[in-house]
């Protein structure tokens, strides 16, 4: 069994917490967001025949780019950026947060989750070009809906897969160096 720390980042009220609520076990209430700035949840899954425990640090949403709690990002194996499909500005915030986080975490796997996919037909504000641009940058984009639950499991699985892959690649690199 392997433990991994991952973070959830995103603007205020994009639905981060609702997104994961169904899929995690939780003992801490939401008030931790406003007090400590982070809420810890746990998700256990199997990925590539490996039992993995994800410790999910759900960081309090921030509307602008005021300092991300960088100390919470310490030692993270991967992260999920969440944006609200009905609010285009949230995607910009998410991308900026991602850039900032990157400076701190280095080159770890990440997923971009565009939430509220259930409103795709009505209030969807995301341009396809934006998504393509992101993908070109190397991001994996998953459309999710906290309401229906679509895409959430997939997001976690994909991130875990990427993390494990990156790790085994690193290990191979290290092995090569030694020999």
């Amino acid at each position: 069994m392997v433990q991994k720390k991952i973070c959830l980042l995103g603007a205020f009220a994009v639905g981060k917490t609702s997104l994961v609520m169904r899929y995690v076990s939780s003992i801490f209430g939401d008030k931790y967001h406003t007090t400590v700035g982070v809420k810890i949840d746990k998700r256990q899954l199997t990925c590539e025949d490996q039992a993995v425990t994800l410790m999910i640090w759900d960081l309090a949403g921030q509307d602008d780019l005021t300092r991300l709690r960088t100390s919470y990002l310490r030692g993270v194996s991967g992260y999920i950026i969440v944006a609200d499909g009905t609010r285009p500005f949230s995607l910009n915030t998410a991308i900026n947060m991602h850039k900032e986080a990157r400076e701190y975490t280095g080159d770890v796997p990440f997923i971009v989750a565009i939430n509220k996919a259930d409103l795709k037909d009505e209030h969807w504000q995301v341009e396809e070009e934006q998504l393509r641009a992101l993908e070109n940058d190397g991001a994996t984009i998953i459309l999710t809906s906290a309401k229906t639950g679509d895409g959430v499991e997939e997001a976690f699985q994909q991130l875990t897969r990427n993390i494990l892959k990156a790790e085994s690649e690193n290990k191979q690199l290290n092995d090569v160096e030694i020999t």
Partner: protein, 465 residues
């Protein structure tokens, strides 16, 4: 013509140069002999730094290895090393702190212990002055078990249990190992460790604290979470009740040991918890300490009955002793009083004189003189009180001139009619009342012969026929 000459000149120079080269070569060979080749090699080495360092290295090693007189090599190197050290610390103290961490802990603890012991002995002196019954009880315990009094006072007041111990990876907040006491309840320890780390980060971020410092304890009611931070691991213990200092020390030592043994694994941790399972006994030790104390208290209760018996017996003896002493004192006082009374009584009795008193083997002795006409001394001894003392009387007869005795003497010697009253004043016998002339004529000459009477006063007496 000139051209030709210059041509010849240059030609000649060229030839000279050519000649000089080989000539010089030959000259060198001649001068330097067989060493020429090796010298050439050495020169090449001097020019090439890589080759030069290869050559010099063994010499430097040898030089360092040799003991230089007066430690001069040390002195020469010291400023350089100190400078390098200081530079390292000022640019980035982290590696040095991590390297020193296992050493500093014990050193600091030692010094703290020394200070605490000093404080304890002062504290001890202060407590010496308290004399409440509980304090006396503790004093007795301290004497009986051979511990310091202050220690007994503190320990007597403790009651605690270490419920859980967490070993947390400091960087990620991931839980490496967890131990719970049998009777305790623990909520999902993975999340608790994460949150504990988050809170430490939060505190560091929100309040200006030194880098690398961490929370030491969280207190809520009778629950304390003791936290010991090492550079790459954190050990947290949940204690219910008042945790003695030893628990914090135990945590310190445990986390230091873990850190020392597992430094590499901690730094390279990628999430595989099985790597740390073998540390379970170390963590369990932190729980077990508390049980031992609890057991001690339980055996205390069982043995306390015996202790109580001893205590009460002891008290009873003390009381008896005290009672005995009081009784003795009382008796002595009574004896004294009676003895004084006897002496006073004898002294004030006319016709008795005390010449000597002594106390011998439980018997008081009175030596004195007693007129045969006086009251017998023996009658004075048991007069009034129940006797506590033995008195031996040794009285010799004498003739007393006390007025009362003299009057008695007169009455006994002569036949005094009822109508006559006698009184004595200043050795003058005064007669009063009535008497016959014949009696008076008979009486007068004889009475002046009685000792104590100088003269007779008959002015007050009425003579009848």
């Amino acid at each position: 013509m000139i051209n030709y000459a210059s041509d010849i000149d240059t030609h000649k120079n060229k030839a000279d140069d050519k000649l000089s080269e080989t000539d010089l070569e030959t000259l060198r060979k001649l001068l330097l002999g067989p060493e020429y080749q090796s010298i050439l090699k050495k020169v090449q080495i001097l020019d090439d730094p890589v080759l030069l360092s290869k050559l010099i290295t063994p010499s430097i090693q040898e030089a360092l290895r040799l003991e230089s007189p007066n430690n001069s090599l040390q002195k020469v190197l010291t400023p350089t090393i100190v400078g390098a050290f200081m530079d390292s610390v000022s640019t980035n103290p982290k590696p040095i702190v991590e390297a020193l961490y296992p050493v500093m802990g014990p050193a600091i603890r030692k010094s703290i212990n020394a200070t605490m012991n000093q404080m304890m002995s002062n504290f001890n002196q202060l407590i010496e002055q308290s004399v409440s019954p509980q304090a006396l009880q503790w004093r007795f315990d301290a004497w009986r078990t051979g511990r310091s009094y202050a220690e007994v006072v503190l320990i007597g007041n403790l009651l605690f249990q270490v419920e859980q111990v967490f070993l947390i990876h400091r960087k990620t907040g991931l839980l490496l190992l967890h131990e719970v006491a049998e009777t305790a309840i623990s909520k999902d320890p993975d999340m608790v460790s994460g949150m504990l780390t988050a809170i430490q980060d939060f505190t560091n971020d929100s309040f200006s604290v030194e880098q690398n410092s961490g929370l030491n304890s969280l207190k809520l009611g009778d629950l304390t979470v003791l936290i010991e931070n090492a550079p790459h691991a954190t050990l947290a213990a949940v204690v219910r009740g008042t945790a003695p200092r030893e628990i914090q020390e135990l945590l310190s030592e445990t986390v230091e040991e873990i850190h020392l043994r597992e430094t590499k694994r901690l730094i390279n941790y990628k999430g595989d918890t099985s790597q740390f399972l073998h540390l379970r006994p170390l963590l369990a030790e932190c729980l077990r300490t508390q049980l031992l104390d609890k057991e001690k208290r339980n055996t205390k209760k069982g043995a306390s009955r015996n202790k109580k018996l001893i205590k009460y017996g002891f008290l009873a003896c003390l009381l008896l002793l005290a009672a005995g002493i009081v009784y003795q004192y009382q008796q002595a006082t009574l004896k004294d009083n009676e003895w004084n009374h006897i002496q006073r009584a004898i002294n004030s009795e006319p016709g008795l004189i005390i010449t000597n008193t002594s106390y011998d083997n439980g018997t008081y002795q009175v030596a004195g003189l007693a007129d045969p006409l006086a009251k017998a001394p023996s009658t004075l001894i048991n007069h009034g009180m129940h006797s506590n003392i033995k008195v031996r009387l040794m009285f010799k007869p004498y003739l007393s001139l006390d007025p009362e005795i003299v009057l008695k003497r007169v009455s006994e010697t002569f036949d005094i009619p009822d109508s006559v009253q006698l009184s004595l004043k200043d050795k003058v016998l005064i007669l009063s009342g009535r008497s016959t002339k014949t009696w008076l004529a008979n009486f007068e000459p004889k009475v002046s012969k009685i000792s104590g009477i100088k003269s007779l006063d008959t002015s007050k007496i009425k003579v009848v026929q």
